[in-house]
Symmetry: C2
């Protein structure tokens, strides 16, 4: 796939999966229609992430969806992932590109317009923008009441041409608002990993984005008619 086809994107985190394995969560989420999976699992040593990554590679290849590895470019290369997702404190996009090659999908986390522009200029293929609504999945992230907000998301989406994936506090209830604000897709951790029924949660999320995308396209057509 290509990032501009993504609508829903699952970031894995075993510690937020209510005792279920990441493999089980990913299988369930695939059944619910996610388009991309990011192997994060910062708490696991790299050897364990390598074994898990190989399992996720099988599942995602079978499903025809993308597998992205958080931070570790070497792990992405080793498991044949589709790409890597880099934070602001990770290796530069150019270093990842040299290792993974021109076809790899390289994403960058940004929270400001200038970070977004810089990431796009240095060759990122998509942006993870957040925390939009704030989140408590990442202990080091802004807290819930310090989310970037939808206006910032709109500004960032307007500043770059590459796809924008909104992350942080996204739920089936507020996903459409993020798409309306300019995001092309939404990423979640606990909205899926922590759900009683991860398949249903993924499906709800996907339907919410679908509905918003259709509306957004209709609006674009109307605007073009003017």
């Amino acid at each position: 796939m290509n990032p501009d086809q993504w609508q829903t994107y699952l970031v894995t985190q075993a510690s937020l999966s209510a005792g279920r394995s990441t493999t089980d969560i990913v299988e369930a989420a695939i059944e619910g229609g996610v388009d991309a999976v990011q192997l994060r699992e910062k708490g696991l040593d790299i050897g364990t992430r390598y074994e898990l990554g190989r399992e996720l590679r099988e599942l995602t290849t079978e499903a025809g969806i993308d597998l992205i590895v958080n931070d570790r470019v070497d792990l992405a290369h080793a498991i044949g992932a589709d790409g890597v997702h880099l934070g602001q404190s990770d290796l530069p996009v150019s270093a990842a590109r040299e290792i993974l090659g021109p076809e790899a999908i390289i994403g960058a986390s940004v929270s400001t317009v200038s970070e977004a522009r810089l990431a796009a200029i240095t060759g990122a293929d998509y942006l993870g923008v957040g925390a939009v609504y704030g989140t408590d999945s990442k202990p080091d992230a802004e807290t819930a009441d310090e989310g970037l907000g939808l206006d910032r998301l709109t500004d960032i989406a307007a500043a770059v041409k590459i796809p924008v994936v909104a992350i942080g506090g996204i739920t089936p209830d507020n996903a459409a608002a993020a798409i309306d604000a300019g995001a092309d897709a939404v990423a979640v951790i606990s909205a899926i990993t922590g759900a009683d029924d991860p398949t249903a949660a993924a499906r709800e999320l996907s339907e919410a984005v679908d509905g918003a995308s259709v509306e957004a396209e209709a609006e674009t057509v109307e605007a073009d008619d003017d």
Copy 2:
């Protein structure tokens, strides 16, 4: 250089450097004659290690010695390091080889003969064997009274043809014994990073290894004469 030319090997750790920067410690250690430097610094985020690694790459290239990166194959590639050092919970040697190529120096941490044989078979260029005397540099390592001991070091050195670097509790006083036991070189963290005079400490270590190596060669010659 080639690992079989190494005698002394410094592993960096800012948190064990008595408030001095890793760059300053490495400069001092180079002056004292170390043959290889390993960028470890697990406590620093990867972006910070990248910046530090670029500085160490300049210093080590200028000095004509090797720079090895702990664990992160992608970082090693990004800063043009000579190689990478992999622990038992890191990526497999083969994955590092694919990213870094045939010329790269890939080291593996082992503590048993079977780990040593496996690492050599899978293409490691040298082994880090320890903790020989036990160490408190690594909180997760065996404690001081649980070091592998010199007999294990001898067994491992006898089981493989690639160079063996002894690590763990090595000082100028006990370095010769490790060489006598079969090690080709010694690696230290705090014996240099924590020394009042890191240059003098590196020099003492290098002289201790030199003396032992000369003796070992003389013994080999005598043995050949029989």
